[in-house]
Symmetry: D2
């Protein structure tokens, strides 16, 4: 940390600050410039900068070290590769995770699982709890839905993925899924992050609508410090002044996170846009910008979907998008493998 | 709702839309303009506009009715007045709620309770759970803290207020406090809002960092529909591009919410600014703009506070702020009564 | 336009509103719902909605017609194709426009022109006026720079492109360039837009840092109404709360503008990111999302550039990016033709 | 400036950076921490940080000195007091500047001048050029309007204030007004700022819709460096995701600018809100937060105003607001003097 003293700070104020900082266990270097004094502070402890900032004569305190440790690429140069049930996230493959925003019934999830598995998705994604993103969601099927998700995933050779928003949902979901998304305000909920850190399955941390990239990596750090190193970051849109879409998918977050962190990055264009007709362009952009995976809403009958029908691709739209994504992946030296003629279906 | 058809929509597409809407139970009025056709849709049901928006030939769907009912001032012209333990929120008084961001121990809460009660606060506010707003919060005292908060409140004749972030905290907190704040991402958590709606005590809904005013009133509506009509809205800052402070306190939200809704409105300048030196100006602005109450961080020794010391006023700063707030309140025909010489202290 | 009356509006207030609107020359349709009255207003005139909104008893006024006419795709279904000096913008080709942020001297622009022409750029882009985007810009070479830009463009068979920010610069620039960018706050400057509308060359309107897509199309409309139909829209980043980069390139604006308007769309990732290392990922994303062209900063010696060196690609970086962009273009059925072995160099 | 080296930076890279910085004329202090090396750089020159940031092995460059000099309170502790034609800006008085958004004709400006002078305004404010803030503005009366503004100001003992947006308007306006506002995108236009710096009258710099406080102070610095030290900063709203009002008046900017700078600060609630019914609450908040002046739209017949009628107060509304503002000013130890019974009216 660097402490910038006021131009008008007295020698006594400077001595006080040095004293306080040394007592906190830091080494200190003083730089006396023409205009002002800087104090370079070196040490391991993490403190609230504002505790220093309120001392008399201090103008500004600047953090030098990143406020997260385990996700930091400086400490682990090679990208993290997560292997789960035969699927590799963070390798050459761009992993496609697709399915309905909300699981409705057995028939629905089976039909959609069939569709997405035939077009090359590797993960079946379905919501089962009421989502804070959707004003109209009337609750979801809960544990019953998780059981159906598990069944459909197994039948079509897919991994099962669902999303939790509240700490009461984690343990239940963990019994059924292969990957879990921590969504809604979850990346800000210290309790929830601690629970996710105790899981044995990979966790996808969704960047909050108002969260900076740095804050999202701090959330990832909390999960990792609690013991779970298999963390993936998901960009799913931030809130800006532009009103046309629900959120603005921040494509620049993809290369930024890839540089700052060794963790895999995925994107969720359906959730960000809220509109089916904008999903293909943004899915394409995300793959061109280097994502390791992509979450896409697919529904066999969106006009009659219980939730978020407007953002779900129809099977034939998903099909043509997969072809484009596959070409774009090749153009950036990645791959979306052709679907295996999966058995049981 | 009004459905705006594309300029190029065919007569068949228009007929299809009319058919779908009528089957949903709505009355429909058709307006055929030179450029395009409008369909005015009248009825009680709440539907996801996007279900209509994805129909062929539809350009845009515009909601006419507000998406919240019970907080709407159109249905209840006079402002809601909440009476709790001798304090009235929404009346002539601007209710001051003050205390530490995080309760530390018995000594701390007793000292601060004494300070704030002597300067005219009516509510003792103290955090006991780890806050998602503070990156460094290492957890809080939890239920033990609630017990101390209750004790300090009783001793100094104050109401007790604390904040919850996760549905696991609601029942515990409800045993000890007189008012509960639903904070962090809580106003987006459907579970948490439902629980708050089942409480017998008033609930303060904090606007999320990325939440519009309308979304905040929808959250209030959910609490009210679940049975708790004693809801207060809290403006505590939104995220903007301006980096100087933690958040930007949206003062304009105060008169807007007062117009749209009959619910009382309070403001939280300490949380919004994160800096003690900016709290007075913003507290003054909030009172001048018409708030019904104000939440202020006070600490007897902020330099050694466990959390958020940088945003807590010292006792003497709180004292002079209270005098100013009291004068401003009078200037806008409100009042902050002089402190009663409270007994037990 | 639809006028939504207050639930409590009196019959007299409704009659007043109808009277005012009819006097303005509109046809009116009344819809009397259970809760409130709607007035559907049909007509050609453009009025300030707020003139209606302030009438007694009016709750809200909703614009139905888009507030821009000539850029509207509803009135011209096929995309506009602009042909200028052998280059086609809006056709199958993704037109690459490259060069230095600021023209420095004859040697610099000749070297860079050679580099970009050999790698397939079609347009040489160089700033000559002080840019409001760069705090440190100390002015530019002005007209002298325009002359050098013209010379370099001619020598290497490129079109010449430069940017204006103030109405005093338009006439001068128009004497030298083939395309002109209206940048900075220019898209908000009514004077400047009128001047751009009188030009015989294509004009690229840059979306302002705080401008919505709709406002940008209104700016385009003003240029077109002033007589210049050859308008291109440029997405160059919007300001959001995320501080890592200078601006957030809004990739979703690309498919949105393509849907709302028939005008070609280009993107400027160098300006948006301000950092060379993020330019490739965002340029790739823009092409994958469907842009008609792309503006990229290239400098033969960025470490010694006078301005914006940090965001300029080095020749070899531009080279490898062009190869990737070309592959991505093919994947989305567009093309970036291989460079013609251009003579004069 | 402080240069933070990568954790993995080689000794050679560090030496290179030191070499480059020393050649730029700076002194350098090296701090070798356990994790990384910091370089403290001390000197007078202003350089583009990105020129350093792109060097190999550099992680981040942090500016220590503020990027503006003359407006900096560190170099001039007491607040600037501007005296112009008998009015003092920056003293105990909160100076009220009122009038129509757009000057229409002689009768209009005379009536409004009379109204505002009788209620205690000191400055008559009227637009004469087309404003970029108003989509519907059809141009203004230009120089003819300036002449009428001058006449009305003189007749009612007021100062004359108008706003410019383009460098072509500055010289003309300067012949007629006592104070000039640089608005729209003007605070980003280097040309315009230089011209404003050559004027002999005070200049009010409006914060841009997407400008940070720091950028606004940089714009002020440019005017001051060009020779005009009589600069006032105006907060008139920033763009956020909240759609209810045109802009969000950033009340927190008032105490922040007062702390960072010695320049006077004024606020423009009419422009920020765009709605008459929200102006009083925000004007009150601005005064309570410590502004030195306030710009308010007033019109004797807003329903028939040519522009921005929706945001103009009616005379009787202005009257009661002035009474409230006066009481609030007293509560914060400022004053709005009672109107002098001005003669000529």
């Amino acid at each position: 940390m660097v402490i910038v003293m006021d131009e008008t700070a007295s020698e006594e104020q400077i001595a006080n600050v040095i004293d306080k900082v040394v007592r906190l266990g830091f080494d200190i270097y003083r730089i006396t410039g023409m205009l002002q004094t800087l104090l370079g502070v070196v040490g391991e402890r993490i403190v609230d900068l504002r505790d220093i900032e309120i001392l008399e004569g201090v103008k500004r305190v600047i953090r030098i070290s990143t406020p997260y440790k385990l996700p930091n690429r400086s400490f682990k140069a090679e990208g993290t590769v997560i292997r789960v049930g035969g699927v590799t996230i963070g390798g050459p493959e761009v992993v496609v995770m697709a399915g309905p925003s909300m699981l409705e019934d057995r028939d629905q999830i089976m039909r959609i699982a069939e569709v997405v598995s035939q077009r090359g998705a590797r993960v079946l994604r379905a919501g089962v709890f009421a989502s804070p993103e959707s004003l109209y969601s009337q609750g979801g099927p809960g544990e019953k839905g998780l059981r159906l998700l598990r069944e459909a995933s197994d039948r079509f050779g897919l991994l099962a993925l669902s999303e939790v928003y509240d700490s009461r949902q984690v343990a239940t979901a963990a019994e059924y899924v292969d990957l879990m998304v921590v969504g809604g305000g979850g990346a800000q909920n210290p309790d929830l992050l601690r629970q996710a850190g105790a899981l044995a399955i990979p966790v996808i941390i969704k960047r909050g609508t108002a969260a900076t990239i740095e804050e999202t990596l701090i959330a990832a750090d909390r999960v990792m410090m609690a013991g779970n190193l298999n963390v993936v970051i998901c960009e799913s849109g931030i809130r800006t002044f532009e009103p046309y879409l629900r959120k603005t998918l921040d494509i620049s977050a993809i290369p930024i996170i890839k540089k700052l962190s060794h963790l895999p990055v995925v994107a969720a264009p359906s959730e960000a846009t809220g509109r089916r007709d904008k999903v293909p362009a943004l899915a394409q952009a995300a793959v061109a910008a280097g994502v390791d995976g992509i979450l896409i809403d697919v529904h066999h009958d969106p006009q009659n979907a219980l939730a978020d029908g407007g953002q779900a691709l129809r099977p034939e739209q998903f099909d043509s998008l997969m072809k484009r994504l596959s070409s774009i992946a090749r153009a950036v030296e990645r791959e979306i493998p052709a679907p295996v003629s999966n058995a049981t279906g």
